[in-house]
Amino acid sequence: MDFNDTPEEAKFRAEARAFLEANCKPKAAENDRMNRSLNPAEYMKAAKAYQKKKAEAGFAGITWAKEQGGRGLPPIFAVIFNQEEAKFDAPAGVFAIGLGMCVPTVIAFSDEATKDRYVAKALRGEEIWCQLFSEPGAGSDVAASKTKAVRDGDDWIVNGQKVWTTGAHFSDFGILLVRTNPDVEKHKGLTMFIVDMKAKGVEARPIHQMSGGRDFNEVYFTDVRIPDANRLGDPGQGWGVALVTLMNERLAVGGSYGPDYKEIFEFAKTVNAPNGEGALIKDEAFRMKLADWIVRAEGYKLAKFRTMTALSKGQTPGPESSIGKVINANQMMDIGNTAIEALDHYGIINDAEYAPLEGAFHQSYMFAPGLRIAGGTDEILKNILAERVLGLPQDVRVDKGVAFKDLPTGR
């Protein structure tokens, strides 16, 4: 038992570091969570330039096959690159969904001509992709999507609405899950397409979140024409295609967000305990909570080391990586809330000029509710753990054997 790289891994890590040192600035601190100082247009330019260098140096598509422009290495090497990249202020975020989920799906379900058209450009950062699955009426139950596509000659005509689409406003292409047959069971009437986000009739509108930001979009489709050549998989096979996309989501190793136990530990030295006798860090009730946060944060970090170990031995990690978000989102909520309450009346101030850590605890408090929902709600992730890890039976299905058009929809 040790935490060392194999010689091959160490060599790769050194290469990755050399590349990053040559092309990015290191983060100021381990827990640096700075906001981007660049405006969106400058940031996008920097991101595309960085991705191009990454591709040229062989650090994009590390696990992809060589014929797709990848390096054909096992997943452990992608994890190592991500670990090193996380130490730098690298503008890699805008490509994560496209390269992590969308393009692998395109590769899995396209002919050579389609792959030639899209894959290399995505890898070099010339085109950005988004994923269009969720709808106002299809969140956890994404197979209930009702955005519809109707065949018209060599094209399909799409009408409907998608929601929670990250990066829709700056994306060039998206993978789009639509209903092509409402007369069969809901999982059997779906089809997946590549959609040109700049096409006529596609409109992305940012969603104003409760946290104040506008990180996601709703996307409206009005008589949008998609050529049949852009279809991924057969008509009616869209759910199977979507599952491949969602499986790739799992391999994206999630990090923690916002202040964690180390930050609230430092903070607790600076505010009074509720009984007014010394600092909060001396308060036993606080110390018990702090211990729980340490245990969970370290436990999650160490669980990832176990996953890395499995990857390093060439094994495939399963759905057990779903524990990460369940732990982190709730911990983020709890730490933000505890810090705010510890400030007493002053805790209501989230003005960066007055609030501790420039309001980072307040940001956690306002963003954590979204994190508990995004990318699978806590409840759905627990269902996944229960069904796929523990092998418990699926819930009783009321939609079995019922045509999609006859399903009750409610609100």
């Binding site: 040790d2 935490f3 860090i281 110390r287 370290e298 176990r306 499995a310 069904e387 039976p393 819930d395």
Partner: protein, 371 residues
């Protein structure tokens, strides 16, 4: 990255599982539970000694197998899973670790071969009454080779032949070694929540004793022994937690209510998923403790406290929710849920309750940051 047990250690674990499935388990644990006159299963103890487990981490020169602490960790997980009714932890994690850590060559030579051979049951006595002990609360007294005072409760104190005791020694506190089979020692068996392990009150009246380790170093030595034992106990707790989750999962698949498997209800799924998450957190922390223990890393005190805090909470959660998943049947004497529920509480409070370890964890974070 190689944060896992080796193939050899995993096959030791498989062998241990096979052996304990055959020779231990609920039937054996219940023999001790149902008979107030016996405090451990002598056959299982003999078998375990025969396999060399008692001396797994004892060096070969002292009659052990000379394997590492990682091997002991995998055995601990399996013993915890089996709710084994034997004084293994007292003898191996506490007594033998204390002797290896603080003992003179003479003491090691005299005691460790007997431990390895299964001829000596040891125990470790800290508590003297309600609440967590402190250096100021210790009243047992060691003076001129004689021990006086009382310890209550002492896990496996009713069957042990030797004890390591924390006692006042002049101005300081020392660890002392006592042969319990002598005139100056009185044992009173205690009723406890977990009758599958023996417990006693030990009273000493000028009992013949000797120091273990340097005079005045007792508290620090005891802390060091507790850190080592904490990691091993955490593996027992992880093993017990995992057994509860498997038992509850199995039941949820087979039990029908409202004409469907109860495991198809989200209320049950989410309960079991919570148990799974708690176990993964505890297991990951315990692995870190195992690494720190086996490499004598400076991180051991921090890792031990995190292991113990995580594992105590996980076992409590898993043991109580296993009962809940079983419904009314889970509340009966005949279904095994309560064996885990009892053992979970013993393992949580012996050697320091969860709050004590959480306090240690934060203190050690403070020390680490100050360093």
């Amino acid at each position: 990255m190689n944060f896992d047990f080796s193939d050899d250690q995993k096959s030791l674990k498989d062998e241990a599982r096979k052996f304990l499935t055959d020779k231990a388990g609920a039937k054996v644990t219940r023999r001790v539970l149902d008979d107030a006159k016996i405090s451990y299963d002598a056959n299982l103890w003999k078998d375990v000694a025969g396999l060399g487990w008692l001396g797994a981490a004892i060096p070969e020169e002292h009659g052990g197998l000379g394997l590492g602490r990682l091997e002991l960790c995998v055995l601990a997980e399996e013993l915890g899973r089996a709710v084994a009714p034997i004084p293994f932890s007292s003898t191996v994690y506490f007594f033998a670790e204390a002797v290896m850590l603080a003992g003179s060559d003479t003491q090691k030579t005299a005691l460790l071969p007997k431990v390895a051979a299964g001829e000596l049951i040891g125990c470790f006595a800290l508590s003297e009454g309600p609440g967590a002990p402190t250096p100021a609360s210790i009243q047992a007294k060691f003076d001129n080779g004689a021990l006086s005072g009382a310890k209550i409760p002492v896990t496996d104190g009713d069957c042990a032949s030797h004890a390591v005791i924390l006692a006042k020694d002049g101005a300081g506190i020392s660890l002392v070694l006592v042969d319990l089979n002598q005139a100056g020692v009185t044992r009173t068996t205690l009723k406890t929540l977990d009758p599958t392990r023996g417990h006693a009150k030990l009273e000493f009246k000028n009992a013949k004793a000797e120091r273990l380790g340097a005079a005045g170093q007792g508290w620090e030595l005891a802390e060091a022994v507790l850190d080592r034992a904490a990691v091993l106990l955490a593996f027992e707790q992880v093993g017990g937690s995992q057994a509860c989750l498997e038992m509850a999962t199995d039941y949820a698949k087979g039990r029908y209510a409202f004409s469907r498997q109860i495991g198809s209800f989200q209320a049950i799924k989410h309960k079991l998923a919570d148990m799974y998450v708690a176990i993964e957190v505890a297991r990951s922390n315990a692995y870190y403790g195992a690494w720190a223990l086996s490499t004598e890393a400076a991180e051991l005190p921090f890792a031990a406290a995190a292991s113990r805090a995580a594992a105590s909470d996980a076992y409590y959660l898993c043991a109580k929710e296993n009962i809940q998943t079983h419904g009314g049947m889970g509340f009966t004497w005949d279904v095994d849920c309560h064996l885990f529920f009892r053992r979970a509480k013993l393992l949580a409070v012996q050697a320091g309750a969860p709050a004590v370890w959480k306090e240690k964890l934060v203190k050690r974070l403070e020390q680490r940051n100050a360093a």
